[in-house]
């Protein structure tokens, strides 16, 4: 099969125009090292990484309605020619239903969380602890600014290195399903940096979100170990104020695996066994992914919307395919 090449602008154009799935993480499609499958006669793109015998697809096809089924069909053919199996991850429900129709076994794998900025407030007793935490960090001298990522590349690198050092000797930074800083796509992202006495202490990178819940996604967030509590919360609160003042609609917190699991989100043909396994990993899967810690941070902001996300197995549910999602994400 002839596979056309797609440049960054074409992929960005695809995720901006083809927002039927309202995938809040769609911007991850422009990550460096993510492969793109496009066809010259079809309007859209499939984004994936090869890992072992699998093509791990991120989201569904970002494609025109008229072309999305044919694009998926050709992508499956492309995988078959390589003797590889497709496993899709972070599918929004709209895409998950398409995969069910095409013989995939589809299960909920987690959820993503979003705050409606028009409704957002930190007033009231519910947010008292969060407000106190933020105040303490500012009292400790924290200054938060939106900065140019290129000019602050060294600060980001220093924080990244220190942050990774806290994760253990064999820790590796996740890729593919998390955002990046720098590179071509940085011009579309925003970086908020927290510093104390001039020393960079932590940062949060935000990626654009398109579709009916357009706004920003709270993406990479890292900080130096040992700083005062509340640094990340103060950075995010500052960013929220700025986004709200600009009229942005939503702040997304992105996907957290193993969270928000509910029978009502499952689709026909789902695997009961895999469903059980997701609940098991929510209870005991800290070694695979720190879902509880991640969810705890997101819930502090009282998200207004919880969106289920899905994994789609070509054929039957398969632990090998699921493990390769993590392999593609550099988790092991």
């Amino acid at each position: 099969m002839t596979v056309a090449t797609a440049n960054n602008d074409q992929i960005l154009d695809a995720i901006r125009r083809h927002t039927q799935a309202d995938n809040p993480s769609a911007f991850l499609a422009v990550n460096e090292e993510t492969s793109r499958f496009v066809q010259p006669d079809l309007d859209g793109a499939v984004c994936y990484r090869a890992a072992g015998g699998f093509l791990v697809q991120f989201g569904g096809p970002f494609a025109a309605d008229a072309d999305r089924v044919e694009l998926l069909r050709r992508f499956l053919e492309f995988a078959r020619e390589q003797d590889r199996t497709v496993v899709g991850v972070q599918l929004a429900r709209y895409d998950a239903e398409l995969y069910v129709e095409h013989g995939f076994t589809v299960n909920q794998v987690g959820a993503s969380y979003a705050v409606d900025l028009a409704e957002h407030t930190l007033r009231g007793t519910r947010f008292m602890q969060l407000r106190n935490k933020i105040s303490r960090s500012f009292r400790a001298g924290l200054v938060v600014e939106e900065v140019d990522a290129t000019e602050h590349r060294d600060a980001v690198a220093e924080i990244d290195a220190a942050w990774l050092g806290t994760k253990g000797e064999h820790a590796r930074p996740l890729e593919f399903l998390v955002g990046q800083t720098g590179g071509w796509a940085q011009q579309h992202r925003r970086l908020f940096l927290g510093s104390i006495e001039g020393r960079p202490t932590g940062y949060i990178s935000y990626s654009p979100v398109y579709g009916t819940r357009a706004g920003w996604m709270h993406d990479l967030s890292r900080r130096l170990p040992g700083g005062p509590p509340g640094v990340m919360e103060a950075i995010n609160a500052t960013a929220i104020e700025k986004f709200s003042a600009e009229g942005a609609g939503w702040l997304h917190f992105g996907f957290t695996p193993f969270t928000g699991l509910a029978e009502e989100h499952e689709l026909p043909g789902r695997s009961s066994a895999f469903q059980w396994f997701m609940h098991h990993l929510w209870e005991h899967g800290e070694a695979v992914y720190p879902a509880r810690t991640q969810l705890s941070y997101k819930e502090k902001w009282a998200p207004h919307t919880v969106l289920p996300e899905y994994v789609a197995f070509q054929g039957s549910a398969d632990l090998g395919a699921f493990a390769h999602v993590f392999r593609a994400a550099n988790a092991f």
Partner: protein
């Protein structure tokens, strides 16, 4: 158990052995972590769909 539900004249029905769900669940967990340890091991990978299918059969059956 009520006496009326058991008749000594009725021969015991031979029921198929019930699948041990917790053993199958344990196999799912072990298989997953086995694959993570050896993601290119064909034997480990082969178990990935099989153990889920066995647990599916036990849960849905």
């Amino acid at each position: 158990m009520s006496e009326t539900t058991v008749s000594p004249a009725t021969p015991p029905t031979a029921l198929p052995p019930r699948p041990d769900v917790s053993a199958l669940q344990q196999a799912v967990v072990e298989t997953f972590f086995g694959i993570i340890q050896a993601p290119d091991d064909p034997e480990a990978l082969a178990g990935g769909a099989r153990v889920l299918a066995e647990l599916d059969a036990a849960l849905d059956g």
